[in-house]
Symmetry: C2
Subunit: 251 residues, 2 copies
Amino acid sequence: MCQLMGMNANVPTDVMFSFAGLAQRAEEHKDGFGIAFFEDKGLRLFVDPASARHSVLAEAVQRYPIHSEVVIAHIRKATQGRVALENTHPFQRELWGRYWVAAHNGNLVDYQPRLHGAFRPVGDTDSERAFCWLMQELAKAHCQVPSVAELTLTLRELLPEVAAFGTFNLLLSNGQALWAHCSTHLHLLERRHPFGPTHLADADLSVDFAAHTRETDRVALLATQPLTRDEPWQALAPGELVVLQGGVRVV
Amino acid sequence: MCQLMGMNANVPTDVMFSFAGLAQRAEEHKDGFGIAFFEDKGLRLFVDPASARHSVLAEAVQRYPIHSEVVIAHIRKATQGRVALENTHPFQRELWGRYWVAAHNGNLVDYQPRLHGAFRPVGDTDSERAFCWLMQELAKAHCQVPSVAELTLTLRELLPEVAAFGTFNLLLSNGQALWAHCSTHLHLLERRHPFGPTHLADADLSVDFAAHTRETDRVALLATQPLTRDEPWQALAPGELVVLQGGVRVV
């Protein structure tokens, strides 16, 4: 199994602190890591089939404060598909003139969706097949980029069809919103004023967000397991779909 | 105008030396840089709207020896499209289960191709429009990934249609081959045994490739202007299409 991390904020925010926590978990989840940063419509995607604990790229990401409104990160423990760059999450496609990114935690059994559209997997994971199928079905359901509310309605129909094949914790974004589907383990934290100090769950590292934030800042985090030990992470329910926009939960 | 660099080799090869030369030219070409590395079917794409001279990311790329069979790099001086992440080359799409990457040097005047297929630009450059149109037309011409020879025949028909709108120096790859279309300035160098010392044209930096290579290694480089001062770079002719595979020119 893998671990996921997602971030959505109303102002460009860095995830150095949270990613440092996630990277600590890469001792076990050693088969690659990836992190996608949206900056408006633009996208930076870093993927490495090496462990985030030892990857030079992961080290650079931790030292380099990329400010972003939406982040999706993943550390991989291979279940399906060999350890290879093309099997490393998050995956990226373009639809309606927007980049889309997805990362998956879980395992889909005998999942071979009919891919007759413009989206084909490059690697051989169940996760990329599911992402291509979602893109294909979204492309059929709307002729151009719809509102976040409309996209959410469509995703609410599509996601259970994939989840029926196994465990499907998914983070998905097109830069406008961050969708999170919980199948087993996914936790949500909404940070807002008053900001205060917090400590990573996995490392002896703390930060006082009060020193780095303004009253109006809103930051929402998603993670397979809570990343900090002194904040009110909420466990999502199986089948729950959370939509984050502007740093807050809108659905 | 921008500057391009491409590399194709028969064994995974790093481009730290060549990219150091290209980055020197980023004083003038300061509106972003990008570099794409294919590792078999996998792809790493680094883009930054900052100058390659000052980008933390460019510095990381220069220190981190990524070994790759195909590399496409670009430093940007904006002509069309504002300085933004989504306007930074190279651009990436997926077609037939392969990632495709393109970078463009030049300027296309009043170029508004009809984009009715599955490829839409995310940014607002002439370059990304041209790339989307090429992907759309390739998708119409073949139903799955054809041979490099067949793709070359199709590209030979498509590229002049774009080039008719202005200057169109293009590097394009799907990881199997590297296609280079010359409109004005593009130079080719084929390195092979016996390898020897060479000096960058733009910096006081030299390397002796004999120490890092085997007799069977083949490396081909493309650049807007020659990157080294003591090697036999050949200027391509206007309208010329070069195809590199396994580190040698196959067309």
